[in-house]
Amino acid sequence: MAEAAESPGDPRTTSPRPLMRDLKAVGKKFMHVLYPRKSNTLLRDWDLWGPLVLCVTLALMLQRGSADNENDGGPQFAEVFVIIWFGAVTITLNSKLLGGNISFFQSLCVLGYCILPLTVALLVCRLVLLAKPGPINFIVRLFVVIVMFAWSIVASTAFLADSQPPNRKALAIYPVFLFYFVISWMILTFAP
């Protein structure tokens, strides 16, 4: 179908209720991230609901209680939120400046959805932290975070790499690596 690159979603779906249609679209994209293979669905039908939900979840789980000392803090909600969106915007700008042919919102959509593995890692880490602290605890968390980090990178690369000219792919992928590395670090060093 010949729809514009920027249109969010297929308007000709047969589902009568827009909410169910949107939720299905978001769920479909989550599946695409978890099992990344070459497909244009994420790029064509971009939406920002999924990234928003993931970002809010991540920020809520990463913030520390307010009883702690001010300077003694992990990231606050606003800090995580700003880092994720500011980071995603910067990577998108970088990609476009290097000559990529992906649109602004498509790139934000991909980067946001590919945070899903890291959100899962944070959930697992919080569960593991309920157990007895110790080196095994740390090793398990480290392993989970590393695996999910690699998964995020692979998923986002599968979608983003094709939009860059071949001699600049590494230049466009490196900021994505840095972005997910920083988020992984925040997850790994989280201590309730």
């Binding site: 300077n71 803090g73 476009k96 920083v182 201590a191």
Partner: protein
């Protein structure tokens, strides 16, 4: 079968120097004098201008005019011209900054009139994050030996480190460029560097601090000083060799003051990043860990125990 090496593009030394002296010139190849293959040169009288040859000429003039018109700074393509680099070029520039050679200016030999902003921007970003992360790691490693230390991510130090590094990477080149422009009248031979070229070589010179900051995790003081001195020497040498062709035609006083100011500022940045020796830190209570990395990152608190 020609070796791949022979087929690679080799820049000539004299072309580089000629380019240095007249940065705005465009090179014209000899084949431009004849009409290219496939075009018929129709002889026309001086008055008329319908010939294919004239068409070719007017096409070329239009193209040259297009190239000379820079897009305005409000257009996206203006900024795109600063990111017009390939992976191999960025890697080559990083290598050039790691291994400075006397007589080889980074700007002339690696930038070749095509400065980019990709390198400086992402090198500064990486350095800021690496500083924050190694600061965190220092606390974690210290906690393993002394469990009474209260661990905290100290997240806002990332913003402090980031702002400091970006300010250094933009304001110092700005000051340097402004100063060199002011002294422009003294120099006859070499044109000064543009602002972007200055920002570019400053940004690339910060690259060596990234592995150095990681190596500073090793808690052996003399090794830390050694790494710091090595990194500072390489980085400052790169800056000095790049600036030398510009300042050597100035008076000796101005040249030496300028070069020492550049090296001193660079040394201050290095000191700001380096972890302080642990004996100099005051014992701390659990809630307020002091600064481990000078001012830029958190330090492991070390309570005094007998």
């Amino acid at each position: 079968m020609a070796a791949a090496d022979e087929l690679a593009f080799h820049e000539f030394e004299e072309a580089t120097n000629l380019l240095a002296e007249t940065p705005n010139v465009t090179t014209v190849s000899r084949s431009d004098q004849r009409p290219p293959e496939g075009h018929v040169a129709v002889a026309v009288d001086p008055g008329g201008s319908y010939g294919a040859e004239d068409e070719v000429e007017s096409d070329k003039t239009a193209l040259l005019q297009e190239q000379q018109q820079q897009p305005g700074f409000w257009t996206f393509s203006y900024y795109q011209s600063f990111f017009d680099v390939d992976t191999s070029q960025v890697l080559d520039r990083i290598k050039g900054s790691l291994l400075p050679r006397p007589g080889h200016s980074f700007v002339r030999h690696h930038l070749r009139n095509r400065p980019d902003l990709y390198g400086p921007f992402w090198i500064c970003a990486t350095l800021a994050f690496v500083l924050a992360i190694t600061g965190n790691l220092t606390v974690v490693l210290a906690q393993r030996t002394d469990p009474s230390i209260h661990y905290s991510p100290q997240f806002h130090k990332v913003t402090v480190a980031g702002i400091t590094i970006y300010c250094y990477a933009w304001l110092v080149p700005l000051a340097l460029w402004a100063f060199l422009q002011w002294r422009k009248g003294v120099r006859e031979r070499m044109g000064p560097y543009t602002f972007l070229e200055t920002v570019c070589f400053y940004g690339y010179s910060l690259f060596i601090f990234i592995p150095t900051v990681v190596l500073w995790l090793i808690p052996v003081p003399w090794l830390q000083w050694l790494f710091g001195a090595l990194a500072l020497a390489l980085s400052a040498a790169g800056l000095v060799f790049t600036l030398w062709p510009i300042v050597r035609e100035d008076t000796r006083l101005v040249a030496s003051v300028l070069l020492s100011a550049v090296v001193l500022l660079h040394a201050l940045l290095a000191m700001g990043c380096k972890p302080l020796p642990l004996e100099h830190m005051a014992p701390t209570h659990q809630n307020t860990p002091p600064h481990p990395h000078g001012v830029l990152t958190p330090t492991p608190p070390r309570p005094t125990t007998a």
